[in-house]
Amino acid sequence: MLLLAASASAQTKPPSAFGPPSQQQTAPPSFAGPKTMPPKTVQPTAAPLRAKGPFGSVLSWVAQTQQKMQRQLAGAVKSLKGGNALGAALFLAGLSFAYGVVHAVGPGHGKAIISSYVVANEETVRRGILISFLAAGLQALTAVALVGLLLVALNATGFQVNAWTNQLETVSYAMIALVGLYLLVTELVRLWRRWRGPQDAAHKHAHHYHDHDERDHHHHAAHHHDDGEACNHMVDARDIAGPLSWRKVAAVVVSVGIRPCSGAILVLVFALTQGLFWAGVAATFAMAFGTAITVAVLATLALGSRELMLRLGGGNQRWAEAVWTTCAIGGALVVLMAGLLLFAASLGPARPF
């Protein structure tokens, strides 16, 4: 229904802010100039992109598939203006979804960040999935808000959208680095406290223990540990990763999600120039859904391998502690370093394209 209504409005006159496509896309006869008339302008077709090296064929396939999908996406947006708008809309949604799934396999989109975060923290699979979807949804919202505000409301240029995207990226990477730093410091402080443990007052520890027993019932029921010394010990190792906290989850989601997905921005702007902004918005959310699934799968895999590592040790407490601490510090380090590297890279010179 909604699609029909929207397509109907697109077929009649789109709101003025969206700009009538026929006017925006007119070929510029004055610029093509005396040399060639517009229809004669040659658009070169690209040869299939090939990569060198032993993995060349795989890399080539990945790159060519992406290019093909992007072209199909452009075609799908344009075909919305044709007769079968509903069919085209469904095709666009499906294509955007697939594009999101594939696009997210490449680096970016917070996969490494989210996976590392859930591994470093005591997060469940369900939480990992939730975080992935929240982050992808926020990325889509940021993209729509940015393009909507700058281009539709303020009539800015593509340059300005790019500039804003870059700013948001820098902010996002800085926040990611801070989250990583926070995780690392918390973990080291906890380890330090444990190391210093024997010197500490006994009652402090007793209190500590009480805490764990409580948590054990809440969150570790799935692991079927009996209460008692051994289990407490293991739980203690788990607890190193830090308490479950919505504030932390929000920090991760916002730090990843404040950076608009560049693929979404391209589709949004392209749809806008075709006078079909709503289609871009729909495509963006379909894309985000696909991205979220990929990220969620990777986060789940990361959690699964942590679980596998834990089981490899049998019931060995030392092993379990080592795995948990390794995950906590390793994950925190990955988040911190990735944030720092990306932050530094994002401060580089402005890209020409």
Binding site: E229, L266, F270, A328, F353
Partner: protein, 232 residues
Amino acid sequence: MSRRGPQGRQFFPMALVISAVVGAAVFGYAPRADAHPHVWATVRSEIVFSPDHAITGIRHAWTFDEFYTAMAVQGLDADGDGVYSKEELDPLAKVNIDSLEEFDYFTFVRLAGDDSFLPLEPPVDYSVEYDGTVLTLHFTLPLKTPLDPRRKDVSIDVYDPSFFVAFGFAEKVPVKVAGTPPEGCAAAVDKPDPESAEAAKALTEAFFSQLGPNSSYGSQFAQTMHVKCSTQ
């Protein structure tokens, strides 16, 4: 309680070492922001020869995909007449050309068997052309020192090391010569050969440089053209 103490004491340094190793290993996977292309450019190049048969520069025509084009021309139709005039598009050309310098114009010129790139001068004769669908950037990139291809073959790579922009040769006539090349000299594109030693070297370099922000992942997608002269 008494059992936990000593264990924790040994455990702290051990955990640090393990974590550092695993962290470093995982870090090999650290995300590179730009390792999948967001912009696609179709490359057509002319090798420009001077009257005395030296290569003086490269004239590029890079045609961008529709998505990038939409982004780039958005809002540039200042007078809103639906026509993107030369005056309206010139600032775009200038911004593109100016910021290309930091990226070495994505053009890397070498003599055969040589590892160092030859210096280039800032582009001249630049413009963008918009046909209503896609945008093409034209510019001529002068070599600092004109080059005689008869002494050594010349290779020209076009790529974005970070692979944010995916450059690919045009299907038809990706490279040609302009001006007066020496007799027996021709320009042609290079078909990647996965078996070649150079390709393997490029991959190794790419693998190690993936770890840093100056990733050269994109070098695996280098579009290479050669100027070769038959020895007479």
